[in-house]
């Protein structure tokens, strides 16, 4: 039967989470992908996690997603970044065995009930009576679906660049999605063009590691998934090296042979993931740049040169790479390239990732202007959940900015739109201290369980974990040594966790492997959490302010004309919803609040000349 509840187009990191969430929540789900062998391909760096991205992976896991399990199984080096700072900004990161990761995910998909894999390209969406009906594939088959989730990544009209050489590719050696891209252009959506890039891959036996610095993984690896007890597999090292004066010279002399600088590329690239050319051009005073040499797998001969993304012409790129310390004799297995692709401006989306103009059509991942496997996965799981809820006539599942990085990510996308590939940062989360990576399960697992995604085991494991933690926290606040509680001892500046533990080890007896971090963080952050909670409540108070339905925006000359039009189109019920309208800035909300306040005052007949008697708290 070619009839589905939910069809997902694209088998990347967004598509996987979307289709798994749908199937696990009981929907009949199908995944249309160009090739089953490339499902879960890591197109760029061989790593999952990192700062704030690690948070996203743990949130996906807490909701019942797969990415955390996969990397725990297939990681070959684990590091918790930022351990010299507080746990709120720790970032779990792992090098992945790319091949193992792919086959792990493919196995999971194949074994998932309710899920069908369809090896084909999507060519068009079918609408009947203006309602989404299904998908037509490149080989001419038709599949019907209640909802469709598009997760095409870089494949939409993908073009790769190496110097002046251009190829229609969605990824190295793979054909792009042209028909679907052309079809989407007929939907009167705002479509733009973005660019990203990847460095070259070298043969591992051709490098001189004695000229590089070794970087080992953590002695005790932190898992990503809350259900993983311990990581036991062997870990391998990465290597650090840097560019030389010669590298700089080659790049600056050959800039005209770079796709980016010759003007071939029109799409906008990310500032935080610049090509090596970019680094030398923008930071002229810096003569050397740090590079990381990362294995792509346990048995793989591919080494990834992290930090050297390039769109230089092939021969120049090879010369450039061989000017790098330790890479002098390297054998280049694949040169770096830049890739341009279509994306849909995410302000076209509701906060639950459904298109505003097309009911039951959802978008997730790089098509929404993001970059990164983790950002894709987080959107994927949310799109999958919401597609199922939509078909069941249930209200959307939207995470608040104060609840999860996933909430921050999606809110940023649908509210502000993007003008460069969007990457998550911890500093994008204004309530960062509340959104620790170690508490993603405390924040989200119950929600995941209630919507039918996280399992009962996940839920009860989480409950037990926080009972243990809460027990220790309470004991730390009660047990006194030398006139002070353990908690008070810990809050004295320069106190080490170890010395507090020695004061009374029995307080920590019941804790399991990674609980300790959470216990001490809960103590440390408690005061800040209280302050944060107060400001969140204040913001929610504003968000919950009801806007009268007869509020006449057209006459509010204080509002920007664009804001007036958008407000009167949407007619938001409250300020929180008004805030979610694309193109509405915090300043617009502030103005709306002032106007509401004015109206309230004039209604209550209390004229007030002071216009400065309230403050707006940005949520």
């Amino acid at each position: 039967m070619n009839s589905f509840d939910i069809l997902v187009i694209g088998g990347g990191h967004a598509g996987i989470e979307a289709v798994l969430a749908a199937a696990r929540m009981g929907a009949k789900a199908g995944l249309i992908t160009l090739s089953i062998e490339t499902i879960a391909e890591m197109s760029c760096n061989p790593a999952i996690g990192g700062l704030s991205k690690g948070h996203l992976v743990r949130e996906v896991d807490a909701l019942g997603g797969e990415m955390g399990h996969a990397i725990d199984q297939c990681g070959i080096q684990f590091r918790m970044l930022n351990q010299t700072k507080g746990p709120a900004v720790w970032g779990p990161r792992a090098q992945a065995d790319k091949k193992a990761y792919k086959s792990y995910m493919q196995e999971v998909l194949k074994n998932q009930s309710n899920l069908t894999l369809i090896p084909d390209g999507a060519a068009a969406l079918i609408f009947k009576d203006k309602k989404l009906y299904g998908v037509e594939t490149e080989s001419g088959d038709t599949y019907s679906a209640g909802a469709v989730i598009i997760t095409t990544g870089t494949f939409l009209n993908g073009i790769t660049h190496r110097g002046r050489e251009k190829k229609p590719e969605g990824r190295y050696g793979e054909k792009p999605s042209i028909k679907l891209a052309e079809f989407l252009k007929t939907l009167s959506l705002k479509i733009g063009r973005l660019k990203t890039g990847t460095p070259c891959r070298l043969h591992k036996d051709s490098l001189d590691y004695s000229r590089m610095e070794i970087q080992e993984g953590d002695p005790v690896p932190h898992p990503f998934s809350f259900s993983t007890g311990a990581i036991t597999q062997k870990q391998v090292p990465c290597y650090l090296t840097h560019t030389t004066d010669e590298t700089k010279k080659i790049i600056l002399e050959n800039l005209h042979l770079s796709a980016l600088y010759s003007g071939e590329i029109k799409g906008i690239g990310p500032r935080y993931c610049p090509s090596i050319e970019d680094k030398f051009v923008k930071f002229k005073d810096k003569n050397h740049h740090l590079l990381f040499i990362e294995p792509e797998g346990m048995d793989s001969s591919f080494m990834y040169v992290n930090g050297a993304a390039s769109s230089l012409q092939t021969d120049v790129q090879i010369r450039m790479i061989r000017s790098i310390r330790g890479l002098e004799k390297s054998e280049i297995l694949r040169v770096g390239y830049a890739i341009e692709y279509d994306f849909v401006q995410p302000t076209e989306l509701h906060p639950h990732l459904e298109l505003k103009k097309y009911e039951n059509l959802f978008l997730a991942g790089q098509i929404n202007g993001t970059s990164g496997y983790e950002e894709a996965a987080a959107q994927g799981i949310m799109a999958g959940i919401n597609a199922v809820l939509k078909l069941g006539n249930q209200s959307p599942f939207v995470l608040k900015r104060s609840e999860a990085y996933t909430g921050v990510l999606i809110d940023d996308l649908v509210t502000k739109g993007v003008d460069e590939p969007y990457r998550m940062f911890t500093s994008r989360a204004e309530h960062r201290l509340m959104l620790r990576q170690d508490t993603a399960d405390r924040r989200l697992t119950e929600k995941g369980y209630r919507i039918g995604l996280a399992t009962h085991d996940d839920f009860s494991r989480m409950k037990k974990k926080y009972e243990r933690i809460e027990h220790s926290v309470q004991l730390m606040k009660k047990r006194r040594i030398r006139g002070k509680t353990l908690a008070e001892h810990y809050l004295v500046p320069f106190t080490e966790i170890q010395s507090v533990k020695q004061m009374d080890p029995s307080v920590f007896n019941d804790l399991e492997a990674f609980d300790e971090v959470t216990v001490f963080a809960d103590i440390k952050y408690e005061g800040y959490m209280d302050r944060e909670n107060a400001s969140i409540r204040k913001a929610l108070l504003i968000d919950d302010r009801v806007i009268p339905q007869d509020f006449c925006y057209e006459e509010m000359s204080g509002l920007r004309i664009e804001a007036r039009q958008k407000f009167s189109q949407v007619r938001p019920r409250n300020l929180g919803q008004a805030r979610g309208i694309p193109g509405i800035s915090p300043a617009d909300i502030q103005m709306l609040l002032i106007l509401l306040e004015k109206r309230r005052k004039s209604v209550s007949q209390k004229e007030e000349s002071d216009i400065v008697n309230f403050e707006v708290e940005e949520s």
């Binding site: 970044l81 930022n82 840097h242 400065v612």
Partner: protein
């Protein structure tokens, strides 16, 4: 939004009076009442036209009319200015006619409020307009004009930029722990950041301290008249009011209550306060009055200590003197010199205070006393004309809050707190400054990071 109308010139008799209308209906309303050589519909923006306002058969007034079309008007809306003949009755009759056809009476400050809402000025500038209108002295005007010109906004923006730079440094270390460019930066960073925070704190302190000065410029000085009962304090007060009115002021003092009088002394706004007499054997009610006197004295810029020349120095005089806190500058005054003196003005203790000899009743010695008061107030911190001063408690509160958060951040650096906590305090400080002027988003911080560090593996 309603179309509003109000008389824009002060009440009282004058040759001309101005009525303003603002809002979408202001030009149609004018069209309805105006009869002249030209039709309102043909009026050019910013030009004056002569005509009559006629409601039905009733001539309201001969007028000159200027229309300002949105958005090029004070309020940013269509605005009409009508010059009528002065005089309450005429003006009110015109205004009532506009009300009859749908205009609404403007609330206090509503024209300025609309200007703010329509983006014609920022919050700080809107506050300045209010100050300029109500300025009672040249100094107050100066402070208000510096606020209007955006000098405070400019300075606050400068501090915001410094804070964003500071935060970016910390954030770069948090977000990119593996970048060599960032770690290069860290090594010398903490110490210099601590110092930078200190300079911001110092500046905020100076600025919030200037609030007192700003209030002086805006509200003027307070001069307290105090002493034992029956030394002639009220007589002196009355004499000073009368004297100053006759001498310098064509502005009537605004009487607020019995003991406070506002007068101008050589262009300085001064509030005179006549204190309850202070004495040893006071009853309960008087004691409360004396407590209040002490409080008022504490807040005064200058105090006039009155002795009765017709009697020797008494315990009441002593008590009165003690009730005035030491740092408040005092001028000693011996009153009633027109009567028989029993107080020894040659007493070295009294002589040392260089008392002024006056008769408040007769007016003797008043000129010298008033000159001395003026001189003393002038000495009291008349600010440099270019210096920024705060004139609003709202501004002061934000700055004090911001300073508090900055101190917390410093404490964090000193006690080896994790950087995300230091940043938390810095961001709170930034938010306080933001409340003063406008928005800062996380994009500002990220943009700064990207333009100053080479990021990206």
């Amino acid at each position: 939004m309603d179309t509003i109308a109000a008389i824009s010139t002060p009440s009282g008799i004058s040759a001309l009076g101005v009525i303003r209308l603002s809002g979408r209906e202001s030009i149609p309303l004018l069209t309805r009442l105006f009869k002249g050589h030209k039709k309102v519909s043909s009026f050019e923006h910013h030009r004056a036209y002569v005509g009559k306002l006629i409601d039905g058969d009733t001539l309201l007034d001969d007028v000159v009319v200027i229309i300002f079309k949105a958005p090029s008007s004070y309020t940013g809306e269509d605005l009409v200015e009508i010059s009528c003949h002065g005089g309450r009755i005429v003006l009110e009759r015109v205004l009532k006619a506009f009300f009859k056809y749908g205009a609404k009476p403007a609330g206090p400050g509503e024209f300025t409020q609309r200007a703010f809402l329509n983006g014609k000025m920022d919050l700080l500038q809107a506050e300045a307009i209010e100050d300029i209108i109500t300025a009672e002295s040249e100094l107050a005007l100066l402070a208000a004009q510096s606020l209007l010109s955006g000098k405070l906004s400019e300075k606050i923006n400068e501090l915001k930029t410094q804070l964003i730079e500071l935060i970016s440094g910390f954030e770069a270390e948090i977000e990119f722990p593996e970048e060599d460019d960032v770690t290069d930066h860290v090594r010398q960073a903490l110490e210099s950041r601590y110092v930078l925070i200190q300079t911001i704190i110092d500046y905020l302190e100076t600025l919030s301290d200037s609030f007192e000065q700003g209030m002086l410029m805006k509200e003027g000085f307070t001069v307290a008249i105090f002493g034992a009962p029956n030394t002639g304090k009220s007589t002196l007060l009355n004499q000073m009011i009368g004297f100053e009115r006759a001498l310098v002021s064509d502005q009537p003092g605004t009487t607020r209550d019995y003991i406070r009088e506002k007068i101008m002394i050589h262009g300085l706004p001064v509030t005179l306060i006549d204190m309850a007499g202070i004495r040893t054997d006071a009853g309960q009610i008087e004691k409360e009055g004396m407590e209040q006197s002490k409080r008022l004295l504490k807040e005064s810029s200058l105090a006039l200590f009155i002795l009765d020349g017709t009697r020797p120095v008494s315990a009441d005089d002593q008590l009165a003197l003690e009730s005035c806190p030491e740092p408040i500058p005092k001028i000693w005054v011996i009153n009633k010199i027109d009567c028989r003196m029993k107080l020894s003005i040659e007493d070295p203790l009294i002589k040392a205070k260089k008392p002024f000899l006056i008769s408040a009743l007769k007016g003797t010695g008043m000129r010298e006393l008033v000159l001395a008061v003026n001189e003393s107030l002038n000495k009291r911190s008349i600010p440099q004309k270019t210096e920024l001063v705060l004139t609003h408690i709202r501004h002061k509160n934000s700055l004090v809050q911001a300073r508090m958060f900055l101190s917390e951040a410093q404490k964090g650096i000193k006690t080896n707190q994790e950087s995300e906590i230091v940043v938390y305090e810095l961001k709170n400080a930034l938010n306080e400054l933001r409340i003063l002027t406008g928005e800062v988003t996380v994009e500002d911080i990220l943009s700064h990071i990207f333009s100053h560090f080479c990021i990206g593996k």
